[in-house]
Protein backbone atom coordinates (compact mmCIF):
# COMPACT_ATOMS: atom_id res chain seq x y z
CA UNK A 1 0.00 0.00 0.00
CA UNK A 2 1.18 3.50 -0.77
CA UNK A 3 0.34 6.59 1.23
CA UNK A 4 0.17 9.81 -0.76
CA UNK A 5 0.09 13.26 0.86
CA UNK A 6 -1.02 16.35 -1.03
CA UNK A 7 0.16 19.57 0.59
CA UNK A 8 2.11 22.69 -0.16
CA UNK A 9 1.71 25.62 2.19
CA UNK A 10 -0.63 28.17 0.72
CA UNK A 11 -4.41 27.87 0.77
CA UNK A 12 -6.39 28.09 -2.45
CA UNK A 13 -3.84 26.47 -4.75
CA UNK A 14 -6.12 23.51 -5.36
CA UNK A 15 -4.72 20.82 -3.05
CA UNK A 16 -8.15 19.28 -2.46
CA UNK A 17 -8.96 19.30 -6.17
CA UNK A 18 -5.64 17.62 -6.99
CA UNK A 19 -6.00 15.02 -4.21
CA UNK A 20 -9.48 14.26 -5.49
CA UNK A 21 -8.29 14.06 -9.10
CA UNK A 22 -5.48 11.66 -8.22
CA UNK A 23 -8.02 9.51 -6.36
CA UNK A 24 -10.42 9.38 -9.32
CA UNK A 25 -7.72 8.61 -11.87
CA UNK A 26 -6.13 5.87 -9.73
CA UNK A 27 -9.51 4.23 -9.01
CA UNK A 28 -10.31 4.25 -12.73
CA UNK A 29 -7.16 2.25 -13.31
CA UNK A 30 -8.57 -0.49 -11.11
CA UNK A 31 -6.81 0.38 -7.86
CA UNK A 32 -8.55 0.37 -4.47
CA UNK A 33 -8.23 3.96 -3.30
CA UNK A 34 -9.16 5.73 -0.06
CA UNK A 35 -9.20 9.53 0.09
CA UNK A 36 -8.72 10.91 3.60
CA UNK A 37 -9.76 14.47 4.30
CA UNK A 38 -7.16 15.78 6.77
CA UNK A 39 -7.86 19.43 6.09
CA UNK A 40 -8.80 20.15 9.69
CA UNK A 41 -10.95 23.22 9.83
CA UNK A 42 -11.52 23.25 6.08
CA UNK A 43 -12.81 19.79 5.25
CA UNK A 44 -14.62 19.69 1.92
CA UNK A 45 -13.33 16.62 0.13
CA UNK A 46 -16.86 15.17 0.31
CA UNK A 47 -18.10 17.99 -1.94
CA UNK A 48 -15.42 17.14 -4.51
CA UNK A 49 -16.72 13.58 -4.38
CA UNK A 50 -20.29 14.73 -4.98
CA UNK A 51 -21.47 13.76 -1.46
CA UNK A 52 -23.64 16.44 0.14
CA UNK A 53 -23.89 15.28 3.74
CA UNK A 54 -21.45 12.52 4.66
CA UNK A 55 -22.89 10.00 7.15
CA UNK A 56 -19.54 9.59 8.91
CA UNK A 57 -16.55 11.73 9.82
CA UNK A 58 -13.08 11.50 11.36
CA UNK A 59 -14.59 12.80 14.59
CA UNK A 60 -16.08 9.34 15.19
CA UNK A 61 -12.62 7.85 14.87
CA UNK A 62 -10.96 10.33 17.21
CA UNK A 63 -13.70 9.87 19.81
CA UNK A 64 -13.03 6.12 19.74
CA UNK A 65 -16.47 5.40 18.47
CA UNK A 66 -15.52 3.73 15.18
CA UNK A 67 -12.58 2.12 13.46
CA UNK A 68 -10.92 4.21 10.73
CA UNK A 69 -11.67 1.75 7.93
CA UNK A 70 -15.36 1.58 8.93
CA UNK A 71 -15.97 5.31 8.37
CA UNK A 72 -14.83 5.12 4.74
CA UNK A 73 -17.80 5.90 2.51
CA UNK A 74 -18.35 4.53 -0.98
CA UNK A 75 -18.37 7.19 -3.72
CA UNK A 76 -19.98 6.95 -7.12
CA UNK A 77 -16.66 5.80 -8.57
CA UNK A 78 -16.09 2.05 -8.05
CA UNK A 79 -12.95 1.44 -6.01
CA UNK A 80 -12.85 4.97 -4.58
CA UNK A 81 -13.80 5.50 -0.94
CA UNK A 82 -13.71 8.63 1.19
CA UNK A 83 -12.95 9.18 4.87
CA UNK A 84 -14.64 12.54 5.45
CA UNK A 85 -13.00 15.19 7.63
CA UNK A 86 -14.20 16.82 10.81
CA UNK A 87 -16.47 19.15 8.94
CA UNK A 88 -18.99 19.74 11.68
CA UNK A 89 -17.06 19.83 14.88
CA UNK A 90 -15.28 22.72 16.60
CA UNK A 91 -11.67 22.80 17.81
CA UNK A 92 -10.37 20.43 15.22
CA UNK A 93 -7.55 22.48 13.80
CA UNK A 94 -4.90 20.58 15.70
CA UNK A 95 -4.44 17.07 17.03
CA UNK A 96 -3.07 15.89 20.35
CA UNK A 97 0.06 13.81 19.94
CA UNK A 98 -1.89 10.72 21.04
CA UNK A 99 -4.50 11.38 18.37
CA UNK A 100 -1.81 11.92 15.77
CA UNK A 101 0.04 8.70 16.56
CA UNK A 102 -3.23 6.78 16.58
CA UNK A 103 -4.18 8.25 13.21
CA UNK A 104 -0.80 7.40 11.68
CA UNK A 105 -0.94 3.86 13.03
CA UNK A 106 -4.40 3.26 11.62
CA UNK A 107 -3.69 4.91 8.25
CA UNK A 108 -0.99 2.33 7.64
CA UNK A 109 -3.44 -0.53 8.18
CA UNK A 110 -6.13 0.64 5.73
CA UNK A 111 -7.09 -1.98 3.16
CA UNK A 112 -6.31 -0.21 -0.11
CA UNK A 113 -3.67 0.09 -2.84
CA UNK A 114 -3.43 3.84 -2.46
CA UNK A 115 -4.39 6.08 0.47
CA UNK A 116 -4.47 9.76 -0.46
CA UNK A 117 -4.26 12.36 2.28
CA UNK A 118 -5.67 15.79 1.54
CA UNK A 119 -3.77 18.15 3.85
CA UNK A 120 -4.76 21.63 4.90
CA UNK A 121 -2.81 24.82 4.24
CA UNK A 122 -0.04 26.11 6.48
CA UNK A 123 3.02 24.64 8.14
CA UNK A 124 1.63 23.37 11.43
CA UNK A 125 3.47 20.40 12.93
CA UNK A 126 0.49 18.10 12.27
CA UNK A 127 0.55 18.98 8.59
CA UNK A 128 4.33 18.63 8.29
CA UNK A 129 4.40 15.32 10.18
CA UNK A 130 1.63 13.88 8.03
CA UNK A 131 3.42 15.02 4.88
CA UNK A 132 6.64 13.38 6.10
CA UNK A 133 4.76 10.16 6.83
CA UNK A 134 3.74 9.69 3.18
CA UNK A 135 5.54 7.48 0.66
CA UNK A 136 4.53 9.81 -2.16
CA UNK A 137 4.73 13.50 -1.37
CA UNK A 138 2.90 15.83 -3.69
CA UNK A 139 3.26 19.61 -3.52
CA UNK A 140 0.66 21.77 -5.23
CA UNK A 141 1.49 25.32 -6.28
CA UNK A 142 -0.23 28.00 -8.34
CA UNK A 143 1.73 30.13 -10.83
CA UNK A 144 2.08 33.22 -8.65
CA UNK A 145 4.81 34.62 -6.40
CA UNK A 146 2.78 34.28 -3.17
CA UNK A 147 2.12 30.63 -3.72
CA UNK A 148 5.74 29.80 -4.56
CA UNK A 149 7.06 31.77 -1.58
CA UNK A 150 4.74 29.87 0.77
CA UNK A 151 5.79 26.64 -0.88
CA UNK A 152 9.48 27.34 -0.23
CA UNK A 153 8.63 28.11 3.39
CA UNK A 154 6.72 24.85 3.58
CA UNK A 155 9.79 22.98 2.30
CA UNK A 156 12.05 24.84 4.70
CA UNK A 157 9.79 24.00 7.66
CA UNK A 158 9.71 20.42 6.49
CA UNK A 159 13.51 20.31 6.69
CA UNK A 160 13.50 21.81 10.18
CA UNK A 161 10.82 19.38 11.34
CA UNK A 162 12.79 16.45 9.98
CA UNK A 163 15.95 17.72 11.66
CA UNK A 164 14.14 18.08 15.00
CA UNK A 165 12.74 14.57 14.75
CA UNK A 166 16.20 13.14 14.11
CA UNK A 167 17.73 15.21 16.92
CA UNK A 168 15.09 13.91 19.35
CA UNK A 169 15.73 10.33 18.33
CA UNK A 170 19.47 10.61 18.99
CA UNK A 171 19.03 12.74 22.12
CA UNK A 172 20.82 15.82 20.76
CA UNK A 173 18.11 18.47 20.97
CA UNK A 174 19.61 20.48 23.83
CA UNK A 175 23.10 20.31 22.38
CA UNK A 176 21.80 21.44 18.99
CA UNK A 177 19.87 24.33 20.54
CA UNK A 178 23.07 25.66 22.12
CA UNK A 179 24.97 25.40 18.83
CA UNK A 180 22.17 27.20 17.01
CA UNK A 181 22.35 30.07 19.51
CA UNK A 182 26.01 30.60 18.67
CA UNK A 183 25.63 29.82 14.98
CA UNK A 184 27.16 33.05 13.64
CA UNK A 185 30.47 32.19 15.36
CA UNK A 186 30.46 28.77 13.67
CA UNK A 187 29.67 30.27 10.26
CA UNK A 188 26.26 28.57 10.09
CA UNK A 189 23.84 30.43 7.80
CA UNK A 190 21.35 27.86 6.59
CA UNK A 191 19.77 24.69 7.92
CA UNK A 192 22.21 22.73 5.73
CA UNK A 193 25.29 24.35 7.27
CA UNK A 194 23.73 23.44 10.60
CA UNK A 195 23.18 19.81 9.58
CA UNK A 196 26.75 19.58 8.21
CA UNK A 197 28.07 20.88 11.51
CA UNK A 198 25.98 18.42 13.54
CA UNK A 199 27.20 15.56 11.36
CA UNK A 200 30.75 16.17 12.52
CA UNK A 201 29.60 15.73 16.14
CA UNK A 202 27.75 12.43 15.95
CA UNK A 203 27.95 9.45 13.60
CA UNK A 204 24.57 8.24 14.81
CA UNK A 205 22.98 11.57 13.90
CA UNK A 206 24.74 11.62 10.54
CA UNK A 207 23.57 8.12 9.64
CA UNK A 208 19.96 8.69 10.64
CA UNK A 209 19.85 12.07 8.88
CA UNK A 210 21.15 10.49 5.66
CA UNK A 211 18.47 7.81 5.87
CA UNK A 212 15.68 10.32 6.45
CA UNK A 213 16.88 12.69 3.73
CA UNK A 214 16.99 9.81 1.25
CA UNK A 215 13.27 9.24 1.84
CA UNK A 216 12.54 12.90 1.20
CA UNK A 217 11.50 13.39 -2.38
CA UNK A 218 8.66 15.37 -3.80
CA UNK A 219 6.52 15.73 -6.91
CA UNK A 220 5.54 19.28 -7.81
CA UNK A 221 2.23 19.99 -9.55
CA UNK A 222 1.51 23.40 -11.04
CA UNK A 223 -2.23 24.10 -10.83
CA UNK A 224 -4.40 26.90 -12.24
CA UNK A 225 -2.30 27.42 -15.37
CA UNK A 226 -3.85 30.07 -17.62
CA UNK A 227 -1.02 30.59 -20.11
CA UNK A 228 1.56 28.26 -21.51
CA UNK A 229 4.47 30.47 -20.47
CA UNK A 230 3.52 29.92 -16.82
CA UNK A 231 4.58 26.28 -17.12
CA UNK A 232 8.22 27.29 -16.80
CA UNK A 233 7.40 28.33 -13.20
CA UNK A 234 6.76 24.71 -12.29
CA UNK A 235 10.15 23.74 -13.68
CA UNK A 236 11.83 26.60 -11.81
CA UNK A 237 10.27 25.60 -8.48
CA UNK A 238 11.28 21.98 -9.00
CA UNK A 239 14.83 23.12 -9.69
CA UNK A 240 14.92 25.48 -6.69
CA UNK A 241 13.76 22.71 -4.34
CA UNK A 242 16.61 20.55 -5.64
CA UNK A 243 19.26 23.22 -5.55
CA UNK A 244 18.40 25.42 -2.56
CA UNK A 245 16.84 22.80 -0.29
CA UNK A 246 18.86 19.73 -1.32
CA UNK A 247 15.64 17.77 -1.69
CA UNK A 248 14.91 15.56 -4.69
CA UNK A 249 11.98 16.99 -6.60
CA UNK A 250 10.41 16.25 -9.94
CA UNK A 251 7.88 18.25 -11.92
CA UNK A 252 4.82 16.04 -12.37
CA UNK A 253 3.09 18.46 -14.73
CA UNK A 254 0.56 21.25 -14.91
CA UNK A 255 -3.20 21.50 -14.63
CA UNK A 256 -5.04 24.08 -16.66
CA UNK A 257 -7.41 26.50 -15.01
CA UNK A 258 -11.03 25.65 -15.73
CA UNK A 259 -13.21 28.72 -15.49
CA UNK A 260 -16.40 26.67 -15.65
CA UNK A 261 -15.50 24.60 -12.59
CA UNK A 262 -17.49 26.59 -10.01
CA UNK A 263 -20.62 25.68 -11.92
CA UNK A 264 -20.10 21.94 -11.41
CA UNK A 265 -20.14 22.18 -7.62
CA UNK A 266 -23.54 23.84 -7.51
CA UNK A 267 -24.96 20.92 -9.43
CA UNK A 268 -23.38 18.29 -7.18
CA UNK A 269 -21.31 16.93 -10.08
CA UNK A 270 -17.82 15.78 -9.08
CA UNK A 271 -15.51 17.88 -11.29
CA UNK A 272 -13.27 14.87 -11.83
CA UNK A 273 -16.04 12.70 -13.16
CA UNK A 274 -15.50 11.76 -16.81
CA UNK A 275 -16.99 14.32 -19.15
CA UNK A 276 -17.27 17.10 -16.54
CA UNK A 277 -14.10 18.91 -17.63
CA UNK A 278 -12.03 17.65 -20.56
CA UNK A 279 -8.99 19.72 -19.59
CA UNK A 280 -8.92 18.55 -15.97
CA UNK A 281 -9.45 14.98 -17.07
CA UNK A 282 -6.50 15.04 -19.45
CA UNK A 283 -4.11 16.99 -17.22
CA UNK A 284 -4.77 14.82 -14.15
CA UNK A 285 -4.24 11.73 -16.29
CA UNK A 286 -0.80 13.02 -17.34
CA UNK A 287 0.12 14.08 -13.79
CA UNK A 288 -0.92 10.70 -12.32
CA UNK A 289 1.09 8.88 -15.00
CA UNK A 290 4.17 10.99 -14.33
CA UNK A 291 4.07 10.45 -10.57
CA UNK A 292 3.63 6.69 -10.90
CA UNK A 293 6.43 6.55 -13.47
CA UNK A 294 8.85 8.57 -11.31
CA UNK A 295 8.14 6.40 -8.25
CA UNK A 296 8.61 3.23 -10.27
CA UNK A 297 11.99 4.41 -11.56
CA UNK A 298 13.09 5.46 -8.09
CA UNK A 299 11.85 2.17 -6.56
CA UNK A 300 10.42 3.79 -3.46
CA UNK A 301 9.58 1.92 -0.30
CA UNK A 302 5.97 1.50 0.75
CA UNK A 303 3.96 0.93 3.86
CA UNK A 304 2.41 -2.45 4.62
Amino acid sequence: MKIWAVGGGKGGTGKSLVANGLGFRLAERGFQVILVDLDFGGANQHTYCGIRKPATSLEQFFENRRALESIALETRIPGLRLIPGNYNSPNTDSLTSTQKLKLFRHLKTLQADHVILDLGAGTQYDTLDTFLLADIKVGVIAPDALSTENFYLFIKNLQYRLLNTVLSKVGMRDQAREIWKGRTLEGIATVFDFIDHLRTLSDEFSELMTQEQARLSLSVILNQVREYRQVEMGLAVKSAVNKFFHMRADFAGYIRYDKELWHQFGQGVPPMQRGASIGLEHDLEVVTDNILKTRKEAGHGTHG
Binding site: A145, E149, Y152, L153, K156, A189, T190, V191, F192, Y228, R229, E232, L235, A236, K238, S239, A240, N242, K243, F244, F245, R256, H282
Partner: protein, 177 residues
Protein backbone atom coordinates in the same frame (compact mmCIF):
# COMPACT_ATOMS: atom_id res chain seq x y z
CA UNK B 1 33.57 21.84 -7.05
CA UNK B 2 35.95 18.87 -7.22
CA UNK B 3 36.23 16.93 -10.49
CA UNK B 4 33.38 14.42 -10.43
CA UNK B 5 31.86 11.79 -12.65
CA UNK B 6 29.42 12.38 -15.47
CA UNK B 7 26.40 11.31 -13.39
CA UNK B 8 27.14 14.06 -10.90
CA UNK B 9 27.30 16.73 -13.58
CA UNK B 10 24.08 15.46 -15.10
CA UNK B 11 22.46 15.75 -11.69
CA UNK B 12 23.49 19.39 -11.46
CA UNK B 13 22.02 20.08 -14.90
CA UNK B 14 18.92 18.11 -13.81
CA UNK B 15 18.99 15.87 -16.89
CA UNK B 16 18.53 12.12 -17.08
CA UNK B 17 21.24 9.62 -17.93
CA UNK B 18 20.04 9.28 -21.52
CA UNK B 19 19.66 13.02 -22.22
CA UNK B 20 21.41 14.08 -25.43
CA UNK B 21 23.93 16.91 -25.68
CA UNK B 22 21.14 19.00 -27.20
CA UNK B 23 18.86 18.33 -24.21
CA UNK B 24 21.70 19.28 -21.90
CA UNK B 25 22.31 22.52 -23.78
CA UNK B 26 18.62 23.42 -23.53
CA UNK B 27 18.58 22.63 -19.84
CA UNK B 28 21.77 24.63 -19.28
CA UNK B 29 20.18 27.73 -20.84
CA UNK B 30 17.01 27.24 -18.83
CA UNK B 31 18.92 26.97 -15.54
CA UNK B 32 20.94 30.06 -16.45
CA UNK B 33 17.66 31.91 -16.94
CA UNK B 34 16.31 30.74 -13.59
CA UNK B 35 19.38 31.44 -11.47
CA UNK B 36 21.05 34.13 -13.56
CA UNK B 37 19.19 36.63 -15.70
CA UNK B 38 15.77 36.04 -14.13
CA UNK B 39 17.13 35.11 -10.70
CA UNK B 40 15.85 38.42 -9.37
CA UNK B 41 12.66 36.62 -8.38
CA UNK B 42 14.65 34.98 -5.59
CA UNK B 43 15.87 38.39 -4.37
CA UNK B 44 12.35 39.35 -3.33
CA UNK B 45 12.14 36.38 -0.97
CA UNK B 46 13.58 36.83 2.50
CA UNK B 47 14.60 33.21 2.84
CA UNK B 48 18.24 32.62 3.89
CA UNK B 49 18.64 29.71 1.52
CA UNK B 50 18.24 32.09 -1.46
CA UNK B 51 21.07 34.45 -0.51
CA UNK B 52 23.18 35.88 -3.36
CA UNK B 53 26.35 33.89 -2.40
CA UNK B 54 24.41 30.62 -2.54
CA UNK B 55 22.94 31.59 -5.90
CA UNK B 56 26.38 32.49 -7.23
CA UNK B 57 27.66 29.08 -6.14
CA UNK B 58 24.75 27.37 -7.91
CA UNK B 59 25.50 29.29 -11.13
CA UNK B 60 29.19 28.38 -10.89
CA UNK B 61 28.32 24.71 -10.47
CA UNK B 62 26.00 24.87 -13.48
CA UNK B 63 28.78 26.42 -15.62
CA UNK B 64 31.33 23.79 -14.55
CA UNK B 65 28.89 20.92 -15.05
CA UNK B 66 28.00 22.07 -18.57
CA UNK B 67 31.65 22.61 -19.56
CA UNK B 68 32.65 19.18 -18.28
CA UNK B 69 29.74 17.50 -20.05
CA UNK B 70 30.64 19.29 -23.30
CA UNK B 71 34.20 17.95 -23.00
CA UNK B 72 32.91 14.42 -22.46
CA UNK B 73 30.62 14.58 -25.48
CA UNK B 74 32.78 16.17 -28.17
CA UNK B 75 33.00 12.93 -30.08
CA UNK B 76 29.53 11.73 -29.24
CA UNK B 77 27.42 10.20 -32.02
CA UNK B 78 25.26 12.56 -34.14
CA UNK B 79 22.21 13.95 -32.37
CA UNK B 80 19.71 13.17 -35.12
CA UNK B 81 19.27 9.51 -36.00
CA UNK B 82 19.42 8.85 -39.78
CA UNK B 83 15.91 7.36 -40.00
CA UNK B 84 12.76 8.01 -37.99
CA UNK B 85 12.49 5.36 -35.29
CA UNK B 86 8.71 5.33 -35.43
CA UNK B 87 6.59 5.78 -38.54
CA UNK B 88 3.27 7.54 -38.11
CA UNK B 89 0.35 5.66 -39.51
CA UNK B 90 -3.06 7.31 -39.80
CA UNK B 91 -4.77 3.95 -39.25
CA UNK B 92 -3.56 4.03 -35.65
CA UNK B 93 -5.57 5.99 -33.08
CA UNK B 94 -4.16 9.35 -33.91
CA UNK B 95 -3.80 12.32 -31.63
CA UNK B 96 -1.36 14.88 -30.23
CA UNK B 97 0.25 12.26 -28.01
CA UNK B 98 1.14 10.27 -31.16
CA UNK B 99 2.81 13.39 -32.58
CA UNK B 100 4.93 13.74 -29.49
CA UNK B 101 5.79 10.05 -29.46
CA UNK B 102 6.95 10.23 -33.09
CA UNK B 103 9.02 13.32 -32.42
CA UNK B 104 10.66 11.80 -29.35
CA UNK B 105 11.33 8.58 -31.23
CA UNK B 106 13.23 10.71 -33.75
CA UNK B 107 15.35 12.06 -30.91
CA UNK B 108 14.28 15.66 -31.57
CA UNK B 109 13.53 18.15 -28.83
CA UNK B 110 10.63 20.54 -29.26
CA UNK B 111 13.13 23.42 -29.37
CA UNK B 112 14.86 21.74 -32.28
CA UNK B 113 11.58 21.53 -34.18
CA UNK B 114 11.00 25.22 -33.39
CA UNK B 115 14.37 26.02 -34.96
CA UNK B 116 13.51 23.94 -38.03
CA UNK B 117 10.02 25.31 -38.57
CA UNK B 118 10.15 28.84 -37.17
CA UNK B 119 6.81 28.11 -35.50
CA UNK B 120 6.40 29.35 -31.92
CA UNK B 121 7.07 26.76 -29.23
CA UNK B 122 3.72 27.37 -27.53
CA UNK B 123 1.91 26.57 -30.80
CA UNK B 124 3.89 23.38 -31.34
CA UNK B 125 3.32 22.22 -27.79
CA UNK B 126 -0.39 23.09 -28.16
CA UNK B 127 -0.44 20.77 -31.21
CA UNK B 128 1.06 17.98 -29.12
CA UNK B 129 -1.23 18.58 -26.15
CA UNK B 130 -4.27 19.19 -28.38
CA UNK B 131 -4.83 22.47 -26.62
CA UNK B 132 -6.71 23.82 -29.61
CA UNK B 133 -7.86 26.84 -27.68
CA UNK B 134 -4.24 28.01 -27.55
CA UNK B 135 -3.88 27.85 -31.36
CA UNK B 136 -5.12 30.43 -33.88
CA UNK B 137 -8.82 29.94 -34.62
CA UNK B 138 -8.44 29.57 -38.41
CA UNK B 139 -7.76 25.92 -39.17
CA UNK B 140 -5.59 26.89 -42.16
CA UNK B 141 -2.93 28.00 -39.67
CA UNK B 142 -3.25 24.81 -37.65
CA UNK B 143 -2.81 22.76 -40.82
CA UNK B 144 0.23 24.87 -41.74
CA UNK B 145 1.91 24.33 -38.36
CA UNK B 146 1.11 20.64 -38.41
CA UNK B 147 2.58 20.20 -41.92
CA UNK B 148 5.73 22.06 -40.91
CA UNK B 149 6.02 19.98 -37.74
CA UNK B 150 5.60 16.67 -39.55
CA UNK B 151 8.12 17.68 -42.23
CA UNK B 152 10.65 18.65 -39.57
CA UNK B 153 10.44 15.26 -37.90
CA UNK B 154 10.51 13.51 -41.31
CA UNK B 155 6.96 12.19 -40.98
CA UNK B 156 4.97 14.24 -43.50
CA UNK B 157 1.97 12.15 -44.49
CA UNK B 158 -1.27 13.61 -45.87
CA UNK B 159 -3.41 10.92 -44.21
CA UNK B 160 -2.00 11.78 -40.83
CA UNK B 161 -2.68 15.47 -41.47
CA UNK B 162 -6.29 14.88 -42.39
CA UNK B 163 -6.82 12.55 -39.44
CA UNK B 164 -5.49 15.19 -37.05
CA UNK B 165 -7.47 17.95 -38.73
CA UNK B 166 -10.65 15.87 -38.32
CA UNK B 167 -10.12 15.93 -34.57
CA UNK B 168 -9.58 19.66 -34.73
CA UNK B 169 -12.76 20.12 -36.83
CA UNK B 170 -14.81 18.14 -34.27
CA UNK B 171 -13.50 20.39 -31.51
CA UNK B 172 -14.38 23.55 -33.49
CA UNK B 173 -17.88 22.18 -34.09
CA UNK B 174 -18.37 21.34 -30.39
CA UNK B 175 -17.11 24.73 -29.37
CA UNK B 176 -19.47 26.46 -31.80
CA UNK B 177 -22.54 24.93 -30.12
Amino acid sequence: MEPMDEQYYRQILEVSEDASMEDMTNEYHRLKRIYGEEGGTFDTLSIDEFSPPIRRKILEDIEIAYKELCKLHVEAPPIIPPRPALVLDASLPFDGAALRKAREASGLSLERVVAETNVRVDYLSALEDERYEDLPMASVYVRGYLTAYLSAIGQMNEEVVSEYMNRHRLWVARKGK
